[in-house]
Symmetry: D2
Subunit: 400 residues, 4 copies
């Protein structure tokens, strides 16, 4: 029997920005016996889940569900809509945008990355400018990350849509909201997104193992011309089978049980309330960060992520910063909490706290208290009172 | 489908002093299929569980396990050892001692209650004095509560044993450690206890449904003369069947799966470490209470319970105290945490926080933060900084 | 980690007549976190469960739920309604009726047992005769078993009621339907039963750990005069607390989750359909038994139990019968199925098959096939074709 | 709450040849909280699982685990080892071999299919002949299915290896044992397979959602030259991360918990015993089929699958055969069992019974009895005694 928690007592605080803590209700749903994926009971499940997930993406268009990670869903979006050598315009919001660019490179696409400082979301004006310059319409797709999990900055997707429109450019708009869906407001149809990519293990509160593509009519049209080789990821066959609630290959049955339950939970609470809840927790977390005298990595308040907060470690007086990973290790070993590491360019001097998944005011306060206790234990200089600031804010806004 | 959590997101903080939060590991163990309680696999379970539970009680004598609540185990201890009209000496440590006295009354025993102030444990000198006065040895049993769940005061059982011995009195010593077992140090054999009563839903971290009697040789002898009618609770038949790992009637199979796992968890961690962990959490809780400017109900530091802390609400300036139950309601509705109510004599002006079960530093800090936020939200005057005091103490003592 | 199934693959066939196989739906319900038994969410559960269970007993009167085995519920029925030395009339339908008599003896009641042959249900005429002879109305209660788990014979409770009425006798009617409830038709109110005793681990498909008393107005009146000592089992305090959905002591929370689910399942299917389903399985089992050339222990077809079938082992040609327990061991070790042993007077020459719990046509056919294979393996002479007879009957009656 | 079983009572018999019934032990393991896929506890899990799975494939070489279905693992094997336009030689053992060929076509490979009759495994002589004719070594890979799930015929992989060797041909050998692994003997290293493809939902007894590639040194070398675009499926990055127990993207954490448990179960029982158990069940199933007077689809006894049996429906006297799908519907609706449909060329006149997963003698006998009852109910002419034949065989071979 594998031991999954080396701490003798108490639940682990999984405060990375995903995988998020899975609610008991979802774990129990996933624990039901596996059924025949070609039978009538599965069919009811399939039809139900395919309808529910559209509501989460706010779309009337189809959403394809893969047995895959979010990375698979990235690949799916590209191979279905593009051909070898196609030019795609990407935007360096942080580590994940950069990884997506590398993935495009591997697929033999010609990916161009507008550089960014990892502390802001997308500047739509830069996209507009680039598209206007592309008079030959070489650029086939614009790819942006809605909620950059490495930095805690969101991007204004409506503004990107408007920029493309102002440029009068026919490029597809592909958006990654792997860590945003179900936590931050997202509107596939209203924002005119062509393919939205997401995954199960963040705001949907499921274990990892499902990837999603929400697909506009324009994207579907494009897929008929796209020539990158595709089989597993091919939309066509999946969409045909999905019509009747089935899949062309064996879907991840038990994760679909969980997805059904997750959609029910989010829709029962109401998406607006879900988003408000995340925003309130984000604000409480940031108040704690400021009270400690620390900096939030994201520099534009309008772009603060409601899903996670990336925190800059204080200077160490020797020209550098206190080490974020040493600090995280102290927290994990002493206080049974996992915090997110700094990734890519911010490795070592940034850590992240996820405020998503099965989470509430006291989980947040326990998490912030664990950070404050960890700062003391690790000898990281800080001002006291971070948790107090969060308590005050949550008390003041309770019930709202 | 029953909805068991009216809050849309996040785990409920069950911070009553029992039932305590059941660890996932135990819930999963209990989820195994029910088996034949007369078959060889059950027999292995029975033998294993009956051996393990002795280690938890620190006894080489038998421990009887009932499908019952702790109240049933109280009754079992009395009906097995006493006869109608027998005089028993009890001690008013708080609400549960009083309830046990009422139960003795219902069973037609002649129960005498040494009065107490609900803010201390047992004063062994009073027991000694009373026993010395009983030169005719009318008193057949001394009944005390080890960890009084209504007040958060423990009693020094070794001192009670010494008092009985000094009095040279043959009375049996019956001890309730329903909420102490598995959280506070307890030594059935070393302390010369004749019957120890406990239950599953506190330090053993199981759902309610099991009651225990640990039985000394002297108690077993006494049971052969005792004439109170007994069938379900009768030790004799159970002990005979237990020899081979079975029970005379159908035992609570799935709770026994959980008990097996609970004993494994406690013994893997080591009982000394388990007790140290609870003491540290108790101290952190009390530091928060004092920082808020509140009083701990228990007045003798040597008797502070490591299991729970009962807290006196502040004065309301109108000759009374702020209402504890109104406060608890605010906390439940706004912060998804259950706190223990004041019981009996302290109803309305005391609330209790349990620091037991599946619990760790961050659960405690989240709980204390929920109390502090609740005090703000409910408008209960207090000094700020309770959580901060707990953070400081836990950081300072982390890893010890 | 305890190994609960020594067989490497496949589900154990738990075909004893209880504990029965618990449906996944109930196991999952029981796996939810334990909650505050004094809080509002528990209250909703309590109110719901107390209402649902009345429908299962077919009563408008209260049903008390104990954390106990069925044996505890036997004791509860007696101590609430009777006084020391009271004369009670019992009926020897089999092993469990005999055990109940022994329990009454231990409680200092004066229990008289009308003898029976263990192959029939209650002969109401004998009860009528005995009551008529009791002109002084010394007999305070008539105690009968509805579904005798040791023999597979049911008793006609309505006829017992009629017998008491014809005798014009004021005795209470106490009925044990521990293994009948939820599987065989039972009508607490219509049949004029005063106390019905049941348990969780049979037709309610729960793990063991809950006992029940359904209580008529007359029984409630009687309880006010009854003087046997009672505390844990005392109806009065429980009924008072139950008014608001609570219990005087900690109830078995997680088993109540399961009970809520179990009642939902039975009521969703419809009790009439549930009973029909059990009858059909009983008939199929008996057809197999007859095809093997074996005898069903119960000799009156009108009294065949729909819950279990007790089977007489064939003669061994040496004046005895083939050993049932040796046979059961062969089945357990070779075919991973637990069968019920012969109890009391029929030990060694009778075995029992339970057809209750989470059970369907193929579970029954697999069980019967396991018996037939076991007969071959154990070298017990029999005619072939038992399973075939059951297949034929189930095919013929499928969908009815 | 989704209702996953429209039958009111009893477990569904999931007797399709995968997804197979998941043992409770595995479902419970998967029910543990999701953890940080970058933390030390996950790392231990990763290292353990990657070591265990090699033993199941009988290889000392690496095995890559994807969050995907088996179809994804097919794609992975091809895109890692081949370049656009590469010639691959496949063998039409049945429906799945044909689907794999279609997948190769979609990936722009030049796939040649040696035709087969869907009633036999691979004829290695035909492969040898074809390879010998390929003197220019245009053929880059030979792709065969080890256990053809659509027909119940296995192929002798060692003979294919020998054929390739005799032809002195450098082609890679790619083998699909999606439904064979963990049920039928398989030896990646000994048989000289270059890539073995498998999935989680068959002999590994997990829910669907994991795909596998076991990779020989030669395949790894080939992957460095192969130019088909690959990102998600790319071995290189995964193998590099796997070195330390991690994955480049978020792995399907909870399915990996299940995989850990599944490997433990198989290795505890011993693979040889596991294979023997499946063979015995296959033989019992075939004896039933023959007793009914039906034909097993697979015509070569040496190639009978131990995993499933495909059964040919009897002639209907009108030049056709009784409809297999109408029959399966009768069985599902009346007897709560899912049987596998005939796929591709054998649609409508073949059905399949899976004898894998969490399965034992009585599950098999219940399943066969459900088929026999279904034949009666559906009016499909047959000889009686199929179940009897299986009972006789299982009794005779019990304990072996």
């Amino acid at each position: 029997m594998l031991k999954l928690n080396s701490h003798p007592s108490g639940r682990h605080f999984l405060q990375i920005p995903g995988p998020s803590t899975v609610p008991d209700r979802i774990l129990r749903a996933m624990d039901y016996p596996t059924i025949d994926h070609r039978g009538p009971e599965f069919q009811s499940l399939g039809i139900k889940v395919l309808a529910s997930i559209r509501k989460i993406f706010k779309t009337d268009n189809p959403v394809v569900i893969y047995p895959s990670s979010g990375t698979g869903a990235w690949e799916a979006a590209l191979v279905n809509t593009l051909s070898a050598g196609d030019h795609v315009l990407m935007y360096e919001t942080g580590h994940f945008a950069t990884l997506w660019k590398k993935l495009a490179d591997k697929l033999a696409l010609n990916a161009e990355l507008i550089s960014g400082d990892w502390r802001h979301g997308v500047d739509a004006a830069k996209i507009e400018e680039r598209l206007k310059a592309d008079t030959a319409h070489q650029i086939k797709a614009v790819c942006v990350v809605h909620n950059e999990t490495s930095t805690g900055a969101t991007s204004d997707i409506a503004s990107v849509r408007a920029a493309i429109d102002r440029a009068g450019h026919p490029a597809l708009l592909l958006v990654d909201t792997i860590s945003g869906l179900g936590s931050a407001d997202y509107r596939h149809d209203e924002w005119g997104v062509d393919v939205t990519i997401s995954g199960s293990q963040k705001g949907l509160m499921l274990p990892p193992g499902l990837g999603f593509n929400a697909i506009s009519k324009k994207a579907l049209e494009a897929s008929k011309q796209a020539t990158l080789p595709k089989a597993y990821w091919g939309w066509e066959e999946i969409l045909a089978m999905n019509e009747k609630g089935f899949w062309p290959y064996t879907p991840a049955t038990n994760l679909l049980y969980g997805l059904s339950e997750a959609c029910d939970m989010l829709l029962e609470e109401g998406l607006d309330q879900v988003f408000k809840r995340h925003q309130r927790h984000g604000e409480a977390a940031r108040r704690a960060v400021r009270a400690w005298g620390f900096e939030v990595l994201c520099q534009n308040p309008a772009e603060y992520s409601p899903v996670l907060t990336a925190i800059v470690m204080p200077e160490d007086g020797k020209g550098g910063r206190h080490n974020a990973d040493a600090f995280r290790k102290v927290v994990l070993e002493n206080f049974n909490m996992s915090l997110g590491q700094g990734l890519g360019k911010v490795t070592g001097w940034v850590f992240r706290i996820g405020h998503l998944g099965d989470f509430n005011d006291l989980t947040l306060l326990g998490s912030l208290a664990g950070i404050e206790a960890g700062l003391i234990k690790a000898g990281v200089p800080h001002q006291r009172g971070g948790v107090q600031a969060a308590i005050d804010y949550l008390a003041e806004t309770a019930g709202r």
